[in-house]
């Protein structure tokens, strides 16, 4: 992947782009796109895995997965964009999310699993189908996913739909393509503070999961170190995580919250701020942002809340003495006890003293973005000096939104004017991915090959730790210049070098830290997922921490984590959250102490509302109200921000000091306009009935299933074997002959014009050959008796062979039957049968005297179809019957398709029928057979059916009784 540049303009190009996003010049893809990105990470993995069975194919996913994940979710979003069903859908999802519907051990996996559908759907808000379509285009229609330019051109090719220019697409394709970035961000964010901040604005909808996906990543970095994981690998992944994860953040908190009263007090203030403050810190930007900006901003701010929580969290870690987590774990989490020693021991060898900080590094990095943005947003008024820094997070989106303008100028697609701002993000995203990685490669070729090896944790780590604020500042500058660097082709290696060099080092840290883990899990494939799952869990739990001080305090913290995450992550509006709160006994069953549930939700609410609103507004906004206007404002700022800017905050500099000074108090109240509120209400009402969880009664296990099953089986077998063994003739055959049976008989044997030349179609499968032979043998015998001439064909592969055994059992003589063979194409074959008999049956024995002068279906006197399959029978009646004039079609069919053929009996399309054993028995009786095949089978058949009737009735009674009885344990309610 080292050289993923446009040959023409030399600008970086998304790994799997087919044309240069900048100059639009086509490139041929070099190597497998996806391969490129991961392969250096692959090394890391390979490092963490025992080289022995590192299966790239399997490991790559584990981090690439996130990228794919996003891609997938985008595609989800797109259709989700389709009007209400989209909405309904994600809400349905939410409804799934809100209540705790999973058994305790499952629940995290459960809500996680919901994540993907959810965020896929969240954008659904109210985008029009065209929006959806346009969004779909790059994915579903265009040749290349990331190549949005080509996609624009494609629109002429008819695939595209006119309204591409419409507002919805504006968000859509943008969202689509930004994804890769966001995924990169997942772990990149450890280096680059902005990225998460800019994502949200960029792709409003998808940012939520992104945040989810992101933080976990670094949290999960800790996980692998705890050997406790490996055994868990076999157990359903998330279970391990549920426990394995909690101690992690707990250990980060418990210690320092008592320790640092101040920050603790501070944090909560910050959290709601993100949500609550939005309007007025937005208002600070009003001058430079266009009218509709708020819509775009709110989510942006929102994610700050989300994305940044971990950051300020990470704040503590430096402050907490290195030992604390370790010290805490045993007391906190039983499960952790086992691991703590190993956990430590994992480190001791490699990083004598630094292991704690080492662990933090990824954590500290993201801090920057959350920090600056946040406290700035608070202090804007007092400290104008910070202004520039303040803009960083908020401008980013604009930057993103804006860049397209110049790109689009190059491309200048007709309808695209509004579309560009966001669509253009793809190129950005596209570039970003390869761009900085390439930088890494250039600056340190070693990286691409074997980062973890080249820069072993020990070697790298110290520098990292030794960062002084000044250094980190320097890095930040580098980062800021970094942006233009990768935006316009040439890249300053030295500057960006810091990042990639850094990343692998700490990644390698953990990689190195966890040899056993990967070995076992990777080949079991359990690991990748687990890292993912536990990560998100971790992240979700983190924001909770934010509320701690505001709510009761330490002890709540534990419980909240187990409860809130889904809601936060899924942005369940408060009214939903309430429900879920009640509906979540299972989650309470989680190992942790359970707190008052409403608290957290109340907390969660503002931010939640926030996020659901913008999508709404998106839908409601007039089309022209899209963002090109605010592009310029960003243009000048863009220089300042870059992947590195986040480094600024990495180490607690004076800013952090400032920030921790006074805990301002913010109202958690959401400031939204009346229209917004009404929209929310509409939405709420609209989906109310979609959010009802559908409990499924746990199947009562009074007796183990297998036993019941066996009993039933043996009972049936006994009942049916007795008559067979005893040869009894206890029950009497049906007294009366059904009309359709007698009409079949008369049609075949009416003395007047008994059909002589009969086309016999043997259409049954071997499975029902038993039944069909039993009920059709008698009929054939009768035909043989009066020397009818048979021409046999079958559209069933096995039919030809089965016909033989049937003819044998009926004693049909060789010269009385002509074999026309196999008719391919089932119903189609039947059609061709009506057109040209001989062409349709090329392999038929047409020289046989019986069929020599037969050229069309009309030359037969009657058609007798022996079929077990209703579709084939219908084929004969719908395709063939109309084509033959006045010749009867008769059917011998299995009981299971008899009911379906009733209508054709009524409409006289079918002249007569024997349906199932009962009719067969009737025919036997009609033809005076006292001991035909049907008669022999009759007893056990009847006994068996009677037994089934009893079973159904008993089962019904038993169940209705069970329902009437009050359910003893609520846990019996298993929810899917």
């Amino acid at each position: 992947m080292a050289d993923n540049r446009c040959p023409i303009c030399g600008s970086p190009v998304p790994p799997d782009a087919e044309a240069c996003p900048i100059c639009g010049s086509p490139l041929e893809i070099s190597g497998e796109p996806a391969e490129d990105l991961p392969d250096w990470l692959k090394e890391l993995r390979g490092e963490s895995a025992t080289p022995a069975d590192a299966e790239p194919a399997e490991e790559v996913p584990d981090w690439l997965a996130k990228i794919r994940d996003r891609a997938k979710q985008d595609q989800d979003q797109v259709p989700a964009g389709e009007e209400a069903d989209g909405t309904a859908d994600w809400l349905q999802e939410l409804s799934g999310t809100a209540p705790a519907e999973e058994p305790a051990d499952r629940d995290d996996a459960d809500w996680l699993s919901r994540l993907s559908p959810d965020d896929s759907a969240i954008p659904a808000g109210g985008e029009e189908p065209p929006g959806g379509e346009a969004g779909e285009m790059p994915i579903a229609r265009a040749d290349d996913v990331t190549d949005w330019l080509k996609q624009l051109r494609d629109e002429d090719s008819g695939q595209a739909d006119p309204p591409v220019g419409l507002e919805p697409e504006v968000t859509e394709p943008g969202a689509e393509e930004v994804q890769p970035v966001s995924d990169l961000t997942d772990w990149l964010s450890h280096l680059d503070g902005e990225t998460p901040a800019e994502e949200p604005a960029a792709e409003i909808p998808a940012e939520e999961p992104l945040a989810a996906g992101e933080t976990p990543d670094w949290l999960s970095q800790f996980q692998p170190e705890t050997p406790a994981e490996e055994p868990a690998a076999e157990i359903p992944a998330e279970e391990t995580l549920a426990e394995g994860e909690t101690p992690d953040w707990l250990s980060q908190f418990q210690p320092q919250i008592p320790a640092e009263e101040e920050p603790a007090a501070e944090i909560p203030a910050e959290e709601p701020l993100a949500a609550g403050e939005t309007p007025d810190w937005l208002s600070q930007f009003q001058p430079e942002t266009p009218a509709e900006e708020p819509a775009a901003e709110i989510p942006a701010e929102e994610t700050l809340a989300a994305g940044e929580t971990p950051d300020w969290l990470s704040q503590f870690q430096p402050e907490t003495p290195a030992e604390e987590p370790v010290a805490e774990i045993p007391t906190e989490e039983p499960l952790a006890e086992g691991e703590t020693p190993d956990w430590l021991s994992q480190f001791q060898p490699q990083i004598p003293a630094e292991e704690e900080p080492a662990a933090e590094i990824p954590v500290e990095e993201p801090l920057a973005e959350g920090e600056t943005s946040d406290w700035l947003s608070q202090f804007q008024p007092e400290t104008p000096a910070e202004e520039p820094a303040a803009e960083i997070p908020t401008e980013e989106p604009l930057a993103a939104g804006e860049t397209p303008d110049w790109i689009s100028r190059l491309e200048s697609s007709p309808s695209g004017s509004e579309a560009e701002p966001v669509e253009a993000m793809e190129p950005i995203s596209g570039e970003e991915v390869p761009a900085w990685i390439r930088d890494a490669d250039e600056t340190q070729p070693s990286l691409e090959a074997e980062p973890a090896l080249e820069l072993p944790g020990e070697g790298e780590l110290p520098d990292w730790l030794s960062f002084t604020p000044s250094e980190s500042a320097g890095e930040a500058v580098a980062g800021e210049e970094g942006i233009p660097a990768w935006m316009d082709a040439p890249v300053e290696p030295t500057e960006d070098a810091g990042i990639p060099a850094g990343t692998p080092s700490w990644l390698g840290e953990f990689a190195a830290a966890a040899p056993p883990l990967s070995e076992e899990e990777l080949d079991e494939e359990g690991e990748p997922v687990s890292a993912f799952v536990e990560g998100s869990e971790a992240w979700l739990s983190l924001p909770e921490a934010g509320h701690i001080p505001e709510t009761t305090g330490m002890e709540d913290l534990a419980g909240e984590t187990s409860l809130i995450p889904p809601f936060l992550s899924d942005e369940v509006p408060e009214w939903l959250g309430q429900e879920s709160a009640e509906g979540s006994p299972v989650e309470e069953a989680e190992s942790l102490p359970t707190p008052p549930i409403e608290e957290p939700i109340a907390e969660g609410e503002p931010s939640l509302e926030m996020a659901s609103l913008p999508t709404w507004l998106e839908a409601m906004r007039p089309v022209e109200a899209v963002a090109p206007a605010h592009a310029p404002t960003v243009q000048e700022k863009i220089e300042r921000v870059g992947p590195l800017a986040g480094m600024q905050g990495v180490l607690p500099g004076e800013e952090t000091a400032v920030q921790y000074h006074k805990p301002p108090t913010y109202s958690g109240r959401l400031r939204i306009s009346e229209t917004q509120r009404t929209h929310a209400d509409v939405l709420q009402e609209a989906i109310q009935n979609l959010v009802q969880p559908k409990p499924i009664a746990a199947e009562s296990r009074l007796v183990p299933q297998t036993v019941t099953r066996l009993l039933v089986t043996i009972l049936i077998l006994l009942v049916m074997l007795i008559p067979i063994l005893g040869g009894t003739r206890a029950s009497q055959l049906p007294a009366a002959t059904p009309a359709h049976v007698s009409s079949l008989f008369t049609t075949l044997h009416s003395p007047a014009e008994a059909p002589q030349r009969i086309l016999l179609a043997v259409e049954y499968e071997a499975g029902l050959a038993g039944e069909m032979q039993i009920i059709s043998t008698s009929v054939l015998e009768d035909l043989v008796k009066r020397n009818a001439q048979l021409a046999v064909l079958s559209t069933q592969p096995t039919g030809v062979a089965l016909a033989e055994s049937l003819l044998q059992s009926a004693g049909v003589s060789e010269d009385a039957v002509a074999r026309l063979g196999y008719l391919p194409g089932s119903e189609l074959g039947l059609q061709s049968l009506t057109q040209d008999l001989r062409v349709a049956l090329p392999s038929g024995n047409w020289d046989h005297p019986l069929v020599r002068e037969i050229n069309s279906l009309d030359d037969f006197d009657a058609i007798l179809v022996i079929s077990s399959n209703a579709d084939i029978s219908r084929g004969w009646l719908e395709q063939v019957q109309p084509a033959i004039t006045g010749k009867p079609i008769l059917m011998i069919t299995s009981a299971q398709s008899a009911p379906i053929l009733q209508p054709y009996l009524q409409s006289r399309q079918l002249s007569g029928m024997i349906g199932g054993l009962i009719d067969g028995a009737a025919y036997d009786r009609l033809t005076g057979r006292t001991d035909g095949a049907a008669r022999r089978a009759w007893d056990s058949y009847q006994f068996g059916l009677i037994l089934v009737i009893l079973l159904i009735i008993l089962g019904g009674l038993f169940q209705s009784l069970a329902r009437l009885l009050p359910r003893r344990k609520p846990r019996k309610e298993v929810k899917a």
Binding site: E35, I67, R68, A71, K72, Q75, D76, V78, P79, A80, E82, E83, A84, D85, G86, T87, A88, D89, Q92, S95, G96, A109, L112, S113, S116, P117, P129, P130, G132, E133, V145, P162, P163, P180, P236, A237, E238, E525, G526, P528, V529, F532, A619, A686, N689, E765, A766, G767, P797, T798, G825, S826, E827, L828, A870, D871, G875, S897, I900, A976
Partner: protein, 250 residues
């Protein structure tokens, strides 16, 4: 051309036009339009998510209907759903398996999954062996699917398409293993047995709504809406015919 053919052609042209309109030109009205909630899909999405999280497989069975016969429509509908589901679960460590009882269908299932992977930026993960012909005859098709229940880490079965009554064996086996089953078939017999055995049976034409309910794309939503309009049309036609017959006009 006789009257029937004329009517047929008109119906087809109208439906085609409607689909195109809803697909490409329709703007959302003042009211949100949606589809009635079907809990089955909610649970399906969750089952997919779970299988991804747990690294379990998803088994999608496309039925046994040959494409070139009237029942083939069910196979086409199943294919559309397959691509969508494969996309939704493409990042699972154990990607989904598609089984079919017809040759062309098996090949198409491979294609559908390939495009699903392509769309999720991971073409290298596509393994054509995951789109299999389970068996060449109806019952061998079933026999070929049964091992999926008892091995291969399958956690959910999505049975879409044309089946025979034998499919109940699979659904019942999945129940024993407490694996999720969502089943929809165009065959009445299969619907009957699946209603008795599958966890989430879809009835009748709900099979053709699956792709739209899984948000496979605006064209699917569009065609489902047209489907609804046509249904109203058919009801109207029946009533008119009845009235005309009663009036003795026909």
């Amino acid at each position: 051309m006789n009257l029937g053919q004329l009517f047929g052609l008109i119906i087809i042209l109208i439906s085609a036009g409607l689909i195109l309109y809803f697909w490409l030109l329709d703007k959302p009205g003042r009211f949100l339009r949606g589809f009635r909630p079907m809990p089955g899909f909610q649970r399906l999405r969750r089952a997919i998510g779970l299988s991804v999280e747990q690294g379990n497989r998803l088994h999608i069975s496309l039925g046994k209907a040959s494409l070139v016969n009237p029942a083939g429509a069910s196979s086409l509908a199943a294919l559309a759903a397959l691509e969508r589901i494969a996309r939704m679960s493409s990042l699972s460590d154990r990607p989904p398996i598609a089984s079919s009882g017809d040759g062309a269908l098996a090949i198409l299932s491979q294609d559908a999954m390939r495009s699903a992977y392509r769309l999720s930026n991971s073409p290298e993960l596509h393994d054509p062996d995951r789109g299999r012909l389970a068996g060449a005859t109806p019952l061998s098709f079933l026999a070929g699917m049964l091992p999926l229940v008892h091995g291969e880490h399958v956690s959910a079965h999505v049975l879409l398409g044309n089946f025979g009554s034998e499919i109940a064996l699979l659904a019942e086996a999945a129940n024993q293993k407490e694996q999720f089953t969502l089943a929809a078939s165009d065959s009445l017999t299969a619907q009957a047995v699946l209603y008795a055995t599958a966890q989430e049976p879809l009835i009748g034409e709900e099979l053709f709504a699956v792709s739209a309910y899984l948000l496979a794309g605006p064209q699917h939503t569009a065609s489902l809406r047209v489907h609804d309009l046509l249904r109203l049309g058919v009801i109207a036609a029946i009533l008119i015919l009845v009235i005309l017959s009663l009036a003795g006009v026909l």
